[in-house]
């Protein structure tokens, strides 16, 4: 009987990677990043990769390790801050960096996963983001006309996502803001692998509460990550006599 469960990230990726592939990975900063799968990608030594993600790693974390191993030739992202390798690569043109407005990137992945090759958005009209792209006027609900920019859908050869729980069918539930780009990236992968904190038996997830239906998930691995990292820990002081 076929099973989507694999014993490790390395086993889930074994034989699936080749040089020049397009890999998408979920996460926003250090939140909701499939850390084990990314380290297995690093260990695969697959080269000339194009990597899609909001950040593509932060210093010493996540996709940063794949960058540091020289495996990436192009990144498609929204935010490259907090990443010294990308900063250096940007100034020296070593890596092709394609900047996308964050909402455009999210929608490109959603569209790609939904079989939509292109769409029009108001975002970026009149900026360098629109250069070389088709622009067209469409009416607003009030009848006035605005200019829109055509953007293309994105798909990936392999999508790596992080979820809180999966059942053995691959139905996924994310936790809090760790959801971020993961649902769209799950749908945009020709092969989608989910790294999850807990694998639960079929029937134990409320079908009404599933965030990503199992049809989008081909393989599942249990995360070995013991400690989640925080980029900017921020607190407020407790009131002196407050009872909590």
């Amino acid at each position: 009987m076929s099973s989507k469960i694999f014993n490790s990230a390395a086993e889930a990726l074994a034989g699936q990677l080749s040089d020049g592939m397009v890999v998408a990975a979920g996460g926003f900063g250090l939140c909701g990043v499939p850390v084990d799968l990314i380290m297995a990608l690093r260990d695969s030594n697959a080269k000339d990769l194009t990597v899609i993600g909001n950040n593509v790693g932060c210093d010493d974390h996540g996709m940063w390790h794949v960058l540091a191993n020289g495996q990436i030739k192009k990144v498609i992202l929204s935010f490259a801050g907090d990443n010294k390798i990308l900063a250096q690569a940007f100034m020296s043109n070593e890596i092709d960096i394609e900047f996308n407005p964050q909402g455009t990137l999210a929608e490109r992945l959603r569209a790609g996963g939904a079989g939509i090759p292109a769409f029009f958005t108001r975002t970026g009209y009149g900026t360098i983001i629109a250069e070389g792209k088709e622009t067209r006027q469409f009416p607003n609900p009030d009848g006035t006309l605005d200019w829109f920019v055509m953007e293309s859908g994105l798909t990936a050869d392999i999508s790596l996502v992080k979820a809180w729980k999966a059942d053995t069918e691959g139905n996924l539930v994310y936790r809090k803001t760790a959801r971020n780009f993961n649902p769209m990236i799950a749908s945009a992968g020709r092969l989608t692998i989910a790294e999850v904190e807990e694998i639960v038996p079929v029937g134990s997830l409320d079908p009404d509460s599933v965030h990503t239906p199992g049809i989008f998930v081909d393989r599942i691995v249990a995360s070995t990550m013991r400690e989640k990292h925080i980029e900017r820990p921020t607190t407020r002081p407790r009131a002196t006599k407050e009872t909590v």
Partner: protein, 217 residues
């Protein structure tokens, strides 16, 4: 005396209205979160996927799965909701967010905004800024009136690459408040002058053309 950061944020908080959904940028705009007037309900959106941002957590209660768009740990509130980045930017692009308060590098008199890149320098990326200015109903920019060399950041035309064209409704600087007719051709109007600042000083430090609002002199 020109307004300081807190005073600029307080002036921006004057643009909040009861029942608004609001997205705040990083920097001075973030200070607005603590300045919601008493008795007013304002729901803050974090574009990474949360509606209803709560206060920062207490020491020992940090949740790595709960951060804002600036990657700081936060909390949620009764009535909060979580969603994907695609749904989040659907809210933003679809015009469901009433107000966004953002920082800026340059603003032009017709409402263009530049706040994401300086040619020749490392680009961090625009993040959600281009989507916010394109989709949110009202855009308020809070920034210093002049750069470190004393040059006006409020210009007839932006010199830096744009974040959005004709997107700024209001500009709040340390010297005053300007309303911008971004959809029409009335340009910019000076509405308020910071206490102790003269109209002559604003004229001397502003490269943009502007008209005077009622009572401003």
């Amino acid at each position: 005396m020109p307004w300081n950061r807190d005073e600029m944020a307080a002036r921006a908080a004057g643009e909040l209205r009861d029942g608004y959904y609001v997205n705040l940028g990083i920097g001075i705009p973030t200070l607005v979160a603590n300045m919601v007037p008493e008795g007013m309900t304002v729901t803050l959106q974090s574009e990474n996927g949360l509606l209803g941002i709560g206060p920062f957590p207490y020491e020992g209660e940090l949740d790595p799965d709960l951060i804002n768009a600036g990657k700081q740990t936060i909390t949620d509130l009764p009535g909060s909701s979580y969603f994907s980045s695609a749904d989040s930017f659907g809210m933003i692009r679809g015009g469901h967010v009433h107000l966004s308060i953002l920082g800026g590098m340059e603003v032009s008199q017709n409402g263009d905004l530049a706040n994401w890149m300086v040619p020749g320098k490392m680009i961090k990326g625009m993040g959600g800024a281009m989507d916010l200015v394109a989709g949110v109903r009202r855009i308020v920019v809070v920034m210093d009136h002049c750069d470190k060399t004393g040059d006006s950041k409020f210009k007839s035309e932006c010199t830096l690459p744009l974040t959005g064209k004709g997107v700024v409704d209001m500009l709040i600087t340390d010297l005053g408040v300007f309303e911008i007719d971004r959809r029409g051709d009335s340009g910019a109007t000076l509405l308020e002058i910071a206490p102790g600042v003269s109209l002559d000083e604003i004229r001397a430090k502003t490269q943009a053309e502007f008209a005077l609002g009622p009572g401003v002199r």
